[in-house]
Every structure is written in structure tokens, then in C-alpha cells.
């Protein structure tokens, strides 16, 4: 007897992150393929202003934090997504290790079919634009430290959307 399709999970498989494919969600912070100019007597190459830092709404200020993320086991179920309605949020990995990114475009809620998954090669960071839905940090294999540039300020700035409330189950899987 064939499986009942309605009970099969939707499979989400990451694709290699690039500035082009991530454009609907934000910026990729990377040197590869980007322009630079020399400073400091040509001792330093400056890859200038790679992300739209949007942190000043409602009295906010930009801040630098460090996040230490525990890894998940994959495949994993996407249980919830979050967004920051007032600000951008950037994550840059400090140990050069790949990590996963799951996003959906801004909107009141998140539909399972709107989810997209990317994998950073470990030299790439991301900056989610304001109100872009994103999963919590998705480290792989071992704990990972990220530098985070986001809004420091008061007031509610994190919405959560629970997935699977009567919708398809979405499983994030490392390969097809």
C-alpha cells in the first residue's frame, strides 16, 4: 500500500549561499567576488560596507554581541521562525565553519512552502534585513561562535511564528 502523501514531511535541503540567491532576505558578508580598496599603505584590503545595518528605529542603537550556538542534529524539524520588526541582524562565524540558514520573506506569517535553506561555507556571514523571517542559529557538528551586529534597545522586537500548526511538517535535511 503506498504511503499517504499527506503525512509525508516537506523536505528542505540547503543550497550554497551567494549574494544573488540571498538577496530577497538580506546581505551576504563575504570577500569572495566583492570589490575592495587598499588602505594603510596597501597593507590592508578594505571590503567596504557589506551590509545594511538598520538598528536606529525607536531609539535603538547598533551593538556588537557574541553568540555561542549549540549544534542541532540533522535532519531536524523546523518548529518555529522569528523576525525582528524593527531592525536588521547580522551573523558572522568566527571559526570559519559552515552553518545553515533558513529564511522566509517578510509577511504576517510563514507558509511551509516559503521556507528556503542555505549553507554558508564558513567564510560567509549573513545580515537579515528588517522583518525577514529566519530560524534561530543553526550550527553544525560543534558549538560555534558568531559576531552579531543588531539593535540594542527597548521595546518588543522579536516575533515568533510556530510552524506545523495544522500545516505540513518541514524537515531540514543536509542532502537530498
Amino acid at each position: 500500500m503506498p504511503a499517504d502523501d499527506s503525512t509525508l514531511p516537506r523536505i528542505l535541503t540547503p543550497v550554497a549561499l551567494s549574494p544573488e540567491n540571498f538577496k530577497p532576505y538580506g546581505d551576504v558578508i563575504q570577500t569572495a567576488g566583492k570589490d575592495f580598496h587598499y588602505i594603510n599603505n596597501r597593507q590592508v584590503a578594505r571590503y567596504h560596507d557589506l551590509a545594511e545595518v538598520d538598528t536606529l528605529e525607536e531609539g535603538g542603537k547598533p551593538g556588537i554581541s557574541l553568540f555561542v550556538a549549540q549544534p542541532y542534529a540533522y535532519p531536524m524539524r523546523i518548529a518555529e521562525m522569528e523576525r525582528h520588526p524593527l531592525s536588521s541582524q547580522a551573523f558572522i562565524p568566527l571559526q570559519g565553519r559552515p552553518f545553515l540558514i533558513v529564511v522566509a520573506e517578510p509577511g504576517e506569517t510563514v507558509r511551509p512552502e516559503a521556507l528556503r535553506a542555505f549553507i554558508s561555507d564558513g567564510t560567509q556571514g549573513v545580515n537579515y534585513h528588517r522583518a525577514v523571517w529566519h530560524h534561530m542559529l543553526l550550527a553544525m557538528d560543534e558549538p560555534a561562535t558568531f559576531v552579531v551586529v543588531d539593535r540594542i534597545g527597548s521595546g518588543p522586537n522579536c516575533d515568533i511564528c510556530a510552524m506545523n500548526d495544522g500545516e505540513e511538517t518541514v524537515m531540514l535535511t543536509l542532502s537530498d
Copy 2:
């Protein structure tokens, strides 16, 4: 015949960087010894707001850039120092490798005896406060990439102070 002391260079030797010893110059961006709180269902530890990001003066905005720094050979002569009169500037190493920091407290010029040198253990970044004199990026051994959070904006925001104009020569040396 004894050497003429007046022609001997001043030797500057780095000490291990810490939030305490770097306090006159800015912030150390590190997790070690810092408080954190859990977010994301305790999957992530947030070390919150570790640096005073000061980038809004005269229409500036905060930005994220990447700098790729070529290493110097040490000992090296300290030829010039720079400062940003309008803003802070943060540097966080992306490959976990030690780097050197040479600073002096704000003032119209830099006296050789005011210079201090520190070594980051590679998990530590620094944020120079506004107008703190600092040397250009001092990578060690091999090229190093840093995430930089500084002011994006127009107008002059970099003063240079040439060292050794009739002063002592200062040599940055890795060990005593």
C-alpha cells in the same frame, strides 16, 4: 666604548590583552569571563552588547566591512599612528589567530612613551573608542581577515601622526 643611549630605540613589547588593561583605549570583545544570557530555547548563549559602537556623528551610520591584513615582519618600527575623531572602530579576527594592537590615549599628538602594545589571543576583538590613537592592523605570520564595525559617512575622519620626527625610534618586538 659604551653605546650612546640616545640612539637606542625604545622597545615596545606586547602584553596579553584583557578588558581591564585595555579600558583606557576601548572595549575587548570576548566571551571569556563575560556574562551571558540564554536565548533561542537555551540553544544559544548571548554575550550582549560588548562594545560601545559610536558611529552616528555628523550623519554617519554604522557599517560592517571585512579587512584582509597582510602581516608585518617583527621587530618593526612604529612609523605612524592613526585616530578617528568622529567614531569608534571595532576589529574582530575571523580565523582565531593572534594579532597585535598598539595604542595611545587621545591627545593632539602621540609621544613614544605613551604607546602601549597588546596581543589578542585570537578569540578577542577590540573596539577603539573615538579618537584613540591606534596602529594600522597588525597581523602576524599570515594574512588575516577581520570583521570591522565602524562609521560609514563622509567628511574627514582619519588623522595620522607620524612617529620619529625628531623623537625616539620605537620598535615593536614580540618578546623581551
